[in-house]
Amino acid sequence: MRRAARGDEDAAGAVFDHYYPRVFRYAIGKVGNERDAEDIASETFARVLRNLDRFRWRGGGFEAWLFRIAANLITDHHRVRNREDPREEVEPTGHADSPETAVLFTETSTELQRLVAGLPEDQKEVVLMRFAAGLDTNEVARATGRNANAVRQLQFRALQNLRKMVTP
């Protein structure tokens, strides 16, 4: 990452290959469609480039920093969409089969993605970071500002909920 920050193209490519899919998966889990997820992932990496000088290379917190940027962009994205169409509930907090959530997810979304989107927000955040983006428990804790035990609990409850939905 430091080499990428100094302008090393190969290192920058490696960083992108490693993190972009994770950010994209996390974003698609949050916004529900590829187009918006791609925009958010692209903007996330653009901000990384712009702000690399401000990032402090201590303790390997790059993942947490990266996903905080992505999370902020997703929040902004929801806010803009709410302004554009107040009837559209873009940050679902209910279950996947609610009509609001169904609006968000396109036909290409899988059933499981719909179910995840229907989780309570804090559980969905943890599940997406943990299983869509591939962060470990501590990285999720840093990115969300929670402690590791809280992340484990949320993860446990989220998976229990999903199991119930998958096998009623």
Binding site: D8, Y20, F131, D136, L162
Partner: protein, 360 residues
């Protein structure tokens, strides 16, 4: 209790998700998690485009920021050097930038320390002179000038350590003399007032005794103040000239030198003159002694010339009278111009020289 169980199960699940054995974790939950992981796909074509943008953006950082990173420290260093050079050019000993000034001076980018030293010394001498002029009329102003002179001398003394070794001894002597004069004005201004102070008194004494010795020319000398007053005389012709030369050389130590001449004048003006005049000037250098000699030599005008040598003082003075005085006056005059720094400070030069004139 329930909370602890829940926490344990959550940890066991997390361990299982991280690849460890299940050990009580719910296998179904692990399976759900795996299905989620594999459920989020990414279109590689979409990723390629964003990848190209990111990599080119990173490369631009290198080309864009490298010169900037070089320029900032370079400008900072240049600015620091400039500030140090500007501030250091006039730094004095004890100031943080003084070492910079020494370096700059060594390469000709700052005034030499010798020139700086000379400046402070001359300024100090000017203030001492001025203080000497004022001491009779405005004592407070005289003391102020003397204090300023001491400050200048302090700076000069600080610079002394960094002067060439050949200049140090002479510089130290000059500083000491000027300091003595300034301190005299500050501590005991009465001593520094022309016409009242000891120097004049001593001269008078010398003159007086000279008079006694000779008696001949006594009327001549009355001219100026106490210096002259005593010396009515002349053996005194030559006696006066001594004091004149003594004054010239005076500068600090000169006062006593002068008085010495007075005393010697009493012994016999001729010899006293030359002897004391020379010795007085000896303080401030060879020039003084030269003038002293010439003064006395002149004063001899034949007679007192011999009296300079000291042997025939009284005899000379007895004979001499006016001729010698004239020459004394000229002698002292020239001496004054050369050694004005110290002599003027006490205002003694003129008086003695004038006395010679009066005698003539």
């Amino acid at each position: 209790m329930t909370r602890d169980v829940s926490r344990r199960r959550a940890r066991a699940l997390d361990d299982a998700l991280n690849g460890r054995p299940l050990e009580g974790a719910d296998a179904e939950l692990v399976d759900v998690a795996r299905r989620i992981s594999s459920d989020y796909e990414l279109d590689p074509a979409m990723m390629r485009r964003d990848r190209a943008m990111f990599v080119s953006g990173a490369a631009m950082r290198r080309s864009r920021f490298a010169p900037f990173r070089m320029m900032v420290p370079a400008i900072a260093v240049c600015a620091l050097l400039l500030v140090a050079a500007i501030g250091g050019r006039t730094a004095l000993p004890g100031q943080p930038l003084y070492p910079v000034r020494k370096v700059l001076g060594s390469v000709g980018l700052a005034r030499s320390l010798q020139a700086e030293f000379d400046d402070h010394l001359h300024r100090a001498a000017d203030f001492v002179d001025h203080a000497g002029d004022l001491v009779a009329t405005d004592r407070a102003a005289a003391v102020r000038d003397a204090v300023v002179a001491l400050e200048e001398l302090g700076i000069a003394r600080d610079l002394l350590d960094d002067l060439p070794r050949s200049s140090v001894a002479a510089g130290a002597r000059t500083i000491s003399k000027l300091e003595d004069q300034a301190l005299t004005i500050i501590r005991n201004p009465d001593e520094a007032v022309p016409g009242v102070d000891d120097h004049g008194g001593r001269d008078d004494n010398g003159g007086g005794s000279g008079d006694d010795g000779t008696g001949d020319d006594s009327g001549t000398s009355s001219g100026h103040g106490s210096d002259d007053s005593g010396s009515g005389s002349d053996g005194s012709g030559s006696g006066d000239s001594d004091s004149g030369s003594g004054d010239r050389s005076g500068s600090g130590g000169s006062g006593s030198d002068d008085s010495g001449s007075g005393t010697s004048g009493s012994n016999d003006s001729g010899s006293g003159d030359s002897g004391s005049g020379d010795s007085g000037s000896g303080d401030s250098g060879s020039n003084d002694s030269g003038s002293g000699t010439s003064g006395s030599g002149d004063s001899g005008s034949g007679d007192s010339g011999t009296s300079d040598s000291g042997s025939s003082g009284s005899g000379d003075s007895g004979t001499s009278g006016s001729g010698s005085d004239d020459s004394d006056a000229s002698g002292s005059g020239s001496g004054d111009t050369r050694d004005s720094i110290s002599g003027d400070a006490f205002g003694l030069d003129g008086s003695s020289g004038d006395t010679g004139d009066d005698g003539s």
